[in-house]
Amino acid sequence: MAKFEGYKDIYVFVEQRNGEIANVGYELISEARKLVASIPQMGFQVVGVLLGHNVTDKANDVIAHGADKVIVADHELLEGYSTQFYADTLTQIIETYKPDSFLTGATVLGRDLAPRVAARLNAGLTADATKIEIDQEKVADGEALLLVTRPTFGGNLFGTIVCPDTRPQMATIRPNVFSMDPVDTTRTGEVVAFTPDFKDTDAKVVVKEVIAKVVEGIDITKCDILVGAGRGAEDCLDMVEAVAEELGGAMCASRAVVDDGFASKDIQVGQTGKTVRPSLYIACGISGACQHVAGMEKSDMIIAINRDPQAEIFSIANMGFIGDVKEILPLLKEEIIAAKKA
């Protein structure tokens, strides 16, 4: 006898805007496939949930990305995102089909919608998961308990959260955490149309205007990954920047580089520049003068590359590499690209 009678399958909210499906939905479907494969005895399916207007034809894409079934709510009130109408619809779908767990991308939309639905259902919701597993010990009892791991305290502490007493088990997952499996257009699956029943069709919130975001200059104090250039990297700043870009971070510089006119004061780190504390700081050709170290020593992880084995930077770096940045950086860029693909 299953602990939660009638609840089954892993559901994934497939986020779309203007008919375009966000990758995170497919990433979650790929992950859900791995999860159901880890509990074959439960016989779970992966179900995509697609809300919108004139989106039914997208259901096949969802199947091609790994869903066994897609529930589509196609309604004019679901054309653009609305907390009110999306929450109403999603709650009704969950109440009708009783998913065992429900995954949503931790996008601005997902983080607006999922908590609202969870509260209405009094279901447990874990935010911003970075890892999801199923407790294999509980499977024998007919229970697919999700072990959902998420960072807290600014990424210093990780908590693994469970919802032992309620269903569905809900979680939001950040984009790019899980990888997306290749598309298989030969896959087939079931498409189920769902007609929502809105308790109130009067919109309480109206989007008046949508504006493209203006990209502003990079604030290095807010970057999680920084690649710092010192005087020893002045002749390969393009490579420093390229590595930073590959890592999704930004380039910063020591005072010497700024004084020499190779970088703007905005990206200077140190006593007379800015103080940064990223998760990763790669110091390239930086000797490690007090001046500079004062601005970056609290970085979580410091990797230093310098030609001088005596460079002071090696005493504070978690990993130090004696070598020429001009040689190492281009190779590092290639290695990063390769590692991303792997």
Binding site: P115, F153, L157, V206, K208, A212, D300
Partner: protein, 262 residues
């Protein structure tokens, strides 16, 4: 107009470090601060107060020590501070917290509720929307500008991944605010002096019309299975190897640490 601002006292997570030897969080000496997204909400409420004469009430749920933080909000010029505190509320997840907050908010009365998008200790961003759900009022999350407020509605700018939306919401509603949207004012000497003749109002479980199974640990569907700290390298190691090997080792390490994802 009655504005309620939801505020949480949090440890300054930028000051928290993991002990490289024991692998535990170093909490000693970490200052408690007003959650930045919430403080932005307080600032917006005070701006509306200056423009319209609105009454600003701050509500916080937390241990009794949080009343010090609320005193400081009096020092910034808010009209009323309420601390919801009771052992019965301990161990609440966002589901139970939102039920508790909503019960207190109903007691106080409101036209507009402002809360921070998320707290820097839990980072869930769930309490705002869940409180709105409990109160059955509309919400706009990720607000980075309040453009207009009148008796009937509020017009705001919401910040999404690549776009911004100008949104009009009917009152009463709940907004969640982003810390970058303003520079919160300092306390000021006059309000600091006055804060010492104002009381932080305490609300306990007995003051709220809410069943015991809705609050605290009992009202929380999520449970913490276990926790662990992130892996930090204590040692310093210096390598002298060919450039190609160095590049490989760096990439491998970053992949292991999930800095390179995909």
């Amino acid at each position: 107009m009655k504005i309620i601002v939801l505020v949480k006292q949090v440890p300054d997570s930028t000051e928290i470090r993991v002990d490289k030897v024991t692998g535990t969080l170093i909490r000693a000496g970490v200052p408690s601060i007003i959650n930045p997204d919430d403080l932005a909400g307080v600032e917006e409420a005070l701006k509306i107060k200056e423009a319209t004469g609105a009454h600003v009430t701050v509500i916080s749920m937390g241990p009794p020590q949080a009343s010090g933080m609320l005193k400081e909000l009096y020092g910034r010029g808010v009209d009323e501070c309420i601390l919801i505190t009771d052992r019965a509320f301990a161990g609440a997840d966002t589901c139970a917290t939102s039920s508790t907050l909503a019960a207190a908010i109903e007691k106080v009365g409101y036209d507009l509720i402002i809360g921070g998008r998320q707290a820097i200790d839990g980072d869930t961003a769930q309490v705002g929307p869940q409180t709105a759900e409990r109160l059955d009022i509309p919400q706009v999350t990720y607000v980075d500008k309040i453009m207009e407020v009148n008796d009937k509605s509020v017009t705001v700018r919401k910040s999404l991944e690549d776009t911004e939306e100008i949104i009009e919401a009917k009152l009463p509603c709940l907004l969640t605010t982003l810390s970058g949207m303003n520079t919160p004012r300092y306390m000021n000497c006059n309000d600091i002096v006055d804060s010492f003749s104002k009381e932080v109002k305490i609300m306990t479980f007995a003051d709220l019309d809410i069943p015991a199974e809705k609050v605290g640990l009992a009202g929380s569907p999520t449970k913490v299975h276990h926790t662990f700290t992130k892996d930090v390298t204590a040692e310093t190691e210096t390598y002298d190897m060919p450039a190609a090997d160095a590049a490989k080792l760096i990439a491998k390490t970053l992949k292991e640490k999930q800095i390179i994802t995909k």
